[in-house]
Assembly symmetry: D2
Amino acid sequence: MLYFDSDYMAGAHPEVMRRLMETNLEHTVGYGLDEYSEEARRRIRAECAAPDALVQFFVGGTQTNATAISALLRPYEGVMAASTAHINVHESGAVERGGHKVLVLPSYDGKVSARDVAGYIRDFYRDDTYEHMVAPGMLYITQPTELGTLYTLEELEELSRICRETHIHLYLDGARLGYALASTAADFTLRDIARLCDVFYIGGTKCGALFGEALVAANPKILPHFFPIVKQHGALLAKGRLQGIQFATLFTDDLYVRIARHANELAMKLRAAFEQKGWPVVIDSPTNQQFVKLPNEVMDQLRLSASFEIWGTRGETETTVRFVTSWATTEEDIEQLISLI
Amino acid sequence: MLYFDSDYMAGAHPEVMRRLMETNLEHTVGYGLDEYSEEARRRIRAECAAPDALVQFFVGGTQTNATAISALLRPYEGVMAASTAHINVHESGAVERGGHKVLVLPSYDGKVSARDVAGYIRDFYRDDTYEHMVAPGMLYITQPTELGTLYTLEELEELSRICRETHIHLYLDGARLGYALASTAADFTLRDIARLCDVFYIGGTKCGALFGEALVAANPKILPHFFPIVKQHGALLAKGRLQGIQFATLFTDDLYVRIARHANELAMKLRAAFEQKGWPVVIDSPTNQQFVKLPNEVMDQLRLSASFEIWGTRGETETTVRFVTSWATTEEDIEQLISLI
Amino acid sequence: MLYFDSDYMAGAHPEVMRRLMETNLEHTVGYGLDEYSEEARRRIRAECAAPDALVQFFVGGTQTNATAISALLRPYEGVMAASTAHINVHESGAVERGGHKVLVLPSYDGKVSARDVAGYIRDFYRDDTYEHMVAPGMLYITQPTELGTLYTLEELEELSRICRETHIHLYLDGARLGYALASTAADFTLRDIARLCDVFYIGGTKCGALFGEALVAANPKILPHFFPIVKQHGALLAKGRLQGIQFATLFTDDLYVRIARHANELAMKLRAAFEQKGWPVVIDSPTNQQFVKLPNEVMDQLRLSASFEIWGTRGETETTVRFVTSWATTEEDIEQLISLI
Amino acid sequence: MLYFDSDYMAGAHPEVMRRLMETNLEHTVGYGLDEYSEEARRRIRAECAAPDALVQFFVGGTQTNATAISALLRPYEGVMAASTAHINVHESGAVERGGHKVLVLPSYDGKVSARDVAGYIRDFYRDDTYEHMVAPGMLYITQPTELGTLYTLEELEELSRICRETHIHLYLDGARLGYALASTAADFTLRDIARLCDVFYIGGTKCGALFGEALVAANPKILPHFFPIVKQHGALLAKGRLQGIQFATLFTDDLYVRIARHANELAMKLRAAFEQKGWPVVIDSPTNQQFVKLPNEVMDQLRLSASFEIWGTRGETETTVRFVTSWATTEEDIEQLISLI
């Protein structure tokens, strides 16, 4: 069977596993206060050109989002996000469990528009009854989005400008950030992200780690007393060094971006093959997720040999499906898949 | 000045005040365990033909909604509601503070459609990832809606049927229920409401009381241990008899509906006057809220003598405004207002 | 029957009712933005010598406490309180529902000691694991306490000093504040309270109003964006003027303290009668609550003619009971009760 | 340096690491729906003699407790626990963040007494005001306790009986359950735990895994719709198989108990050495945590070569400290430590 369901189906990149094995019998203090975690923080700060940055490790994305949003928002504030945003759809209401409303904006292939964001904020304060409504306190974006698309540097600059002018936090969910940074379409760097967003996270789970996400705030004062808040959310890993070792490894010799580039390249090959076949690629994604509309008979045949997700519901005659590559996808996997379509 | 901003600008109906005065020096136990509260519950149960109903008094609508929704939903569930629903717009995120997501449905002049409700539930369980999403656990509707419109009996029957088939609570916010029951367009009774909804509330604040809402659940088992939950929400009034006396009075000699009918009739007069003037009545509301589009110069002139709300934002040349009548609006008020337009 | 169960068994002081009747048919804007609420705020600010104070009205005490505590604490903080504190015992976990822990201190007849408070804070930060624990963010005290006792001015000064030195909010629950201010044992004024506490509330429900509490923060910056937080807690009264009218009346001609003084005087008469009988007054309360240990046969006989609460559980041969007076208690009530014991 | 601070200072048992390495490149579905997780659940169910048991994996203890408590309690309920309980002290208020109060009982070297539990429940319902108080809905115990002590089978039977008679959930936090099961003092089995507790968890983090806890409910109906609740708490691991592989390994050939037995034996050697020296062992712990009172000069000297925790605060002349062994502690470590004292 060929696996294209998602980018978290295999374990960790072998280099990451090697380091976990090497260090396994060492004793260190817990909760991320160890030397490996410190090294990882140092490497991330350097890569972000944010020498004072708070870097806090988490185990998974929902946990990261829920904790950061709780810590950043005041009780009467909500978080603006695209209708397709992970926090709005696929986190079982974790944001609401934390007491905050998701303020939904239109999604353009996964992205929000600066125009909509600015408009929402402006209209909110123009409404005579705004004190009875949930105030926008944060903008949540994903890079790449849930649909594989990217914000350009100009778009990020514009969103950042609007947020700073209106005193709203800009938060970037980078569950798949590696694939964004490695994309040939990327005109931004990690430094840009760190400079333009108040808080963001560098995804590990989907980008080469066993698990783990690194939350970064260039200005640490934005998240005071964050440690007990992390603990309170059940998000503090006892053996924090596991996250430290993994991120230190991923941020050595550019491993994080290198393995994502590999996945992107394979995704592009796949996309070319779909296009050649004449099957409509429904979203212009320059990253590791590709969405294509397949005739149902093709899809059904293909499912016998490959696993992938139906995107939405099965259509009458054709259905949109998603293929995802990762560091664990091989050239052979792709060639075999292409040979089957 | 003529007051048409809302239906909570005056105190209580004089008959309600008379009873509060008469009983003021009596001593009773607190928290709604007194005889007046019991009398009110008895009268409401009789009117609802729901002899076993749980009847719990609250002070205001947001509090009522937040408490009932918290009590009815399980942690992973959310509440479906029209985009225009009070809980979605004007309760400062009280539902989310309680940990639950509002699942937004299209609003048709304030109403949800049975088709959309059924479709939402069906699509939810068809989605392979539904266990990562907020499950619909309740449908919230308002009667009359925030836009003054009414669900017909057939529509209520249909929504109730869908909810019962799918094991979803049907909750009706009756902040202005009096105006619905008293409407000439109403083809339903309070008994129908009590029969078709799992939980609903009879609004007092906007319908003749100083304050107070009466939550009703025909089957009390749906809200076990509700008393401490009410207390926990800060919603338990020490001198609960104040609510008892008010509702007992409103439910004597049909006062509740009589005073709402008066308000509706005046609203209809006003509407007729607008139509005669040729100003578009933008929503077909058979209750005490009327929405009309006025030329800006007319609106500005009128505001010198009358108060009313702009609905949304001021337009370039004309603006939609809302006029609200209540038990406290007099024939003279309406005649004077009409003479000014 | 003679009523001594509590101080919220009758309606409002006749003067308060008179004003509610007089103004009943007036139209005003809602939510406390009216002139009566403004007048009440002005009077309270003057009485507190706190010209910039935020004054926000609530309906009841649990609601007031829950909203203020939510607004003041950061997620990782808890509130220190005596084990007997109302928030720790009788609010059905409203503080915890808001996400915060009550950090329990020993209760000395309802009071905390400065020594314990200082010790708790000191020990907390000395503990190596304090970042895994709930940080003390607020001290909650009641004046008078649930047991009728009073903090002296010196004690309040000391608690305030500790709190300010350690950057912890001092919050005073004044559900029965009138009885404290009117006590012959009081060596403090309302100005002292306003000066020494960051936030406190002046109780109306138990002190002459139908309902209502006035939260005061001398420095309004301590509660930014408080309005939507109040709304979110379901604590914003539509007809806010009802609270304004009541507090404006209570703070005219010293009515608030005068009626409490009357209640205290009657309580002292009762206490003297108990002492004369030789029944042990178990708490030295200089306010309107009196706790006495009665032989069971006396208690049982008395209950035929008078209502009052058992404090804790019935003893083998004697039982501690509580008698509460209020503005509504008359000289005749007390004389009659004394004649019965 | 010799490490005795805690039982989570090293990585995973080599056998666990070996299996993680072996399976690393395999592709599986996520979220615990894979074959390894299923195998682990099967093994755990067998070991518990609970064929229908719900077994849900978590990453850490605080997360496990918070999620289970949220799922089990109704809004008005709280959880009884010893004052020393981890949820009461060292989880940064995670239970309260979930909306529930910890109802504190006396701690006898970490344990609650059946007498206190029964008394608390009885007194609660005898209190006339109990509907204004937080109802006991669960009893939380730890096995071994935070102080290394154990409940006997008889004690567990008694607590279970009380809980079932009063319809209160019995929850057992087994963060260190291996050390309990492996103790020479243990007169209970895992089957007893599964039979007597409604819900409990088998700790992995402190007992041989990199991370992970396995929550078990013999009757799965007690936790309906648990999956989205886990997700909502940010506690669902994407690569759930990591937990499956670890627990399947630990529950093969009795590895889980074998490695704990090793740790206990070393702890007993250490204890004997302390006793021989005449230093008071302050708690009679038959598991891997040992508490001893050391003269300060001995302690200070020892800290140059060994790490361990001060328990509480440093005393004037002697101080209580904690030594913890684990699967990673060697005979040599213990001998070296003993040679130093």
